[in-house]
């Protein structure tokens, strides 16, 4: 199932890494980081903020002003679907919607255990509890077909979407 998930995301122009152990994911993200990194609280890697040199957390007083200059936004997925291949982010205090929208690169950390086969499975799980104010489903980099109906990536949202899969312990 994870193989199909990875294949589906790649077909949607995502870069996919893993599944890797949590500690490997931490090293990977620290090495990958450049410029200001906007980090959401839903990323399932404890203490990642302390490992990053230039980190922007949502509770920073100037978060709104600085986010447009961040180079990377890192988020954690609430759930992910194999078919159609997509990841879902839930808005929450500490995990704003814009982290996956405004920086040109979006890195999403997805625990393998949160990948379900279908959209119906995902909705059943999500509606079993209180829905978040915003649930954002992301298939890949921002795209348009408005110019002569030929796919062009990176219109308003991120040009690059990296998915890091976390293996179960």
């Amino acid at each position: 199932m994870i193989g199909a998930f990875v294949e589906g995301l790649r077909a949607n122009d995502c870069e996919v890494t893993g599944p890797v152990a949590v500690e490997d994911a931490r090293r990977l993200l620290v090495r990958y980081a450049r410029g200001t990194v906007a980090l959401n609280a839903d990323v399932p890697i404890a203490g990642l903020a302390d490992d990053l040199d230039d980190v922007l957390l949502p509770d920073a007083p100037d978060w709104r002003a600085r986010l447009p200059d961040a180079a990377i936004g890192i988020t954690g997925a609430r759930i992910a679907v194999v078919d159609p291949p997509t990841i879902a982010l839930a808005a929450a205090p500490g995990s704003p919607r814009a982290t996956s929208l405004i920086p040109p690169v979006h890195v999403c950390v997805v625990p393998v255990g949160d990948v379900v086969p279908t959209l119906g499975d995902a909705l059943a799980r999500l509606t079993a509890e209180e829905l978040p104010s915003a649930l954002t489903w992301i298939g890949g980099p921002s795209r348009t077909g408005d110019l002569e109906m030929i796919l062009t990536l990176g219109v308003h949202g991120p040009r690059r979407v990296e998915v890091v899969l976390i293996a179960p312990d």
Partner: protein
């Protein structure tokens, strides 16, 4: 910035179509539809049983539309959403303008929404002294060009890349290359400044779930996400038929919508909003308003056009239509084009607008076959012809005369013999106007069947 659309005054669908067919730039742009058609057809074929399921969900909604709307309203209000009910476009515009004035909005960012096109909201905001910026790339291009979208999914489908470059370069005030990436990059930077300073975001609604009070928006570029993330107020304009009973229904409806629209298994972004920003959250709007827009829709319930309200605005009927594919949207001179536009335009205007549209159809049923929610579009187009019969006195007189003559065997024999002798058949009947200009009388056989039968069975 919201523009007026330029059409030939007084021209009807046939005349506008003729000029569209004769426009080489437009014809070049329309070639690009073939690719879309193939990928969408393939994707749509992947889930043959979903059409019936989706059609059933939409019809379940229409059987008790008011009941589902009441349920939706209650669920929205329980989550802190402000619900407004608007009978007609004027009332809907008044709601939006009222909110925009109260919050002293200067810049309004809009995500592509046919409902806001329908009520001509952009022009109303501009007239009230606000900047209204379309943020879907295609919609932005047509706004800058002072035009109207020519396709509900791909608004600038009628423009070639060099034409798009010209429109954007005029706005930029600098040279821009005829290059997809470069033009996209320029628009990204320009629109980003608009997003970051906007006070008000306006979107449509793809689906609204009555059980959870969730608004579902489908986009690819991310502009819809900006409109619902950064401005402090978000207004969603929702035609009343967008309600669905359960959020779980989107598991069927969403993939069906996007596969028929663009061939994607799912659009790049799907946004599900349940109430405004909550306590402790750092973005999302403080206020979320949903406007239920009727505009003659409720009046269709219980009529033979009721099923038109099942439409999910995927554009599949446009993409397969032999007429649309040759003339594109502007020839229809209406917000909605293609087969669904031929049905919806007369109905939403009380037959004041687009009465000639149902006549510009081949009745080939490609639209009915393509529709993911099984709306009998071609049947409705035919039915609409009886609502506003096309009047042409010479033609009516000719039909009447023909009926009288062929009612008697003598009249039939006389006229067919005459046709064989004079050679009039095979040509055009003079004096009957446009109807006969594109139609020729059949060429009669040299000898009639009756005559041959008579000879061979003597």
């Amino acid at each position: 910035m919201s523009g007026t659309h330029v059409t030939t005054p007084g021209a009807d669908f046939r005349e506008r179509s003729a000029s569209a067919v004769g426009d080489p730039q437009l014809q070049r742009a329309l070639h690009n539809m073939d690719r879309r058609l193939r990928t969408a057809a393939q994707a749509a074929a992947a889930h043959p049983d979903w059409k019936a399921r989706a059609a059933a969900v939409r019809r379940e909604t229409l059987r008790d539309l008011d009941g589902w709307l009441d349920k939706l309203e209650a669920a929205l209000v329980a989550r802190g959403v402000v619900v407004h009910r608007a009978e007609d476009p004027a009332a809907a515009r008044a709601v939006v303008l009222g909110i925009a004035r109260r919050i002293d909005a200067r810049t309004v960012v809009k995500s592509k929404s046919m409902a806001t096109e329908e009520i001509e909201l952009g022009a109303a905001l501009e007239a009230a002294g606000m900047r209204s910026v379309e943020t879907d790339l295609g919609e932005y291009i047509v706004q800058l060009a002072g035009e109207r979208p020519s396709h509900m999914i791909t608004p600038a489908i009628h423009k070639t890349l060099p034409q798009i470059r010209d429109v954007l370069a005029r706005e930029a005030g600098t040279e821009l290359p005829v290059d997809r990436e470069a033009l996209t990059e320029w628009a990204r930077e320009r629109l980003r400044t608009e997003f970051l300073r906007a006070d008000l975001g306006i979107t449509g609604v793809n689906f609204a779930a009555a059980d959870t009070g969730t608004i579902v928006l489908v986009t690819n570029e991310g502009n819809g996400r900006y409109c619902t993330t950064w401005p402090r107020v978000h207004i969603a304009m929702m035609p009343i038929e967008k309600v669905i009973p359960r959020l779980a229904d989107v598991a069927t409806l969403l993939p069906l919508l996007t596969s028929h629209a663009t061939g994607q298994a799912l659009s790049n972004y799907v946004t599900m909003l349940t109430g405004p920003r909550r306590e402790g959250e750092f973005d999302g709007p403080d206020e979320l308003h949903v406007v239920f827009l009727d505009h003659r829709r409720r009046a269709l319930l219980g009529t033979r056009y009721e099923e038109m309200l099942a439409c999910i605005r995927c554009g599949a009927c446009l993409n397969v239509c032999p007429v649309y594919r040759n003339v594109s949207g502007h020839a229809y001179d209406a917000v909605y084009s293609g087969p669904m536009g031929k049905v919806l335009t007369p109905l939403l205007s009380g037959h004041a607008q687009g009465a000639d549209l149902p006549y510009g159809s081949t009745l080939c049923h490609a639209c009915s076959d393509a529709c993911p929610v099984q709306i009998p579009l071609a049947d409705m187009i035919l039915d609409l012809r009886t609502e506003v019969p096309e009047r042409h006195e010479t033609r009516t007189a000719l039909w009447d005369a023909w009926a009288r003559v062929w009612s008697s065997p003598r009249g039939y024999r006389l006229t067919t013999a005459l046709a064989r002798m004079t050679g009039l058949a095979g040509g055009h009947v003079p004096g009957a106007g446009r109807w006969t200009r594109t139609r020729a009388l059949p060429v009669p056989a040299r000898e009639s069947f009756r005559a041959r039968w008579g000879k061979e069975h003597r």
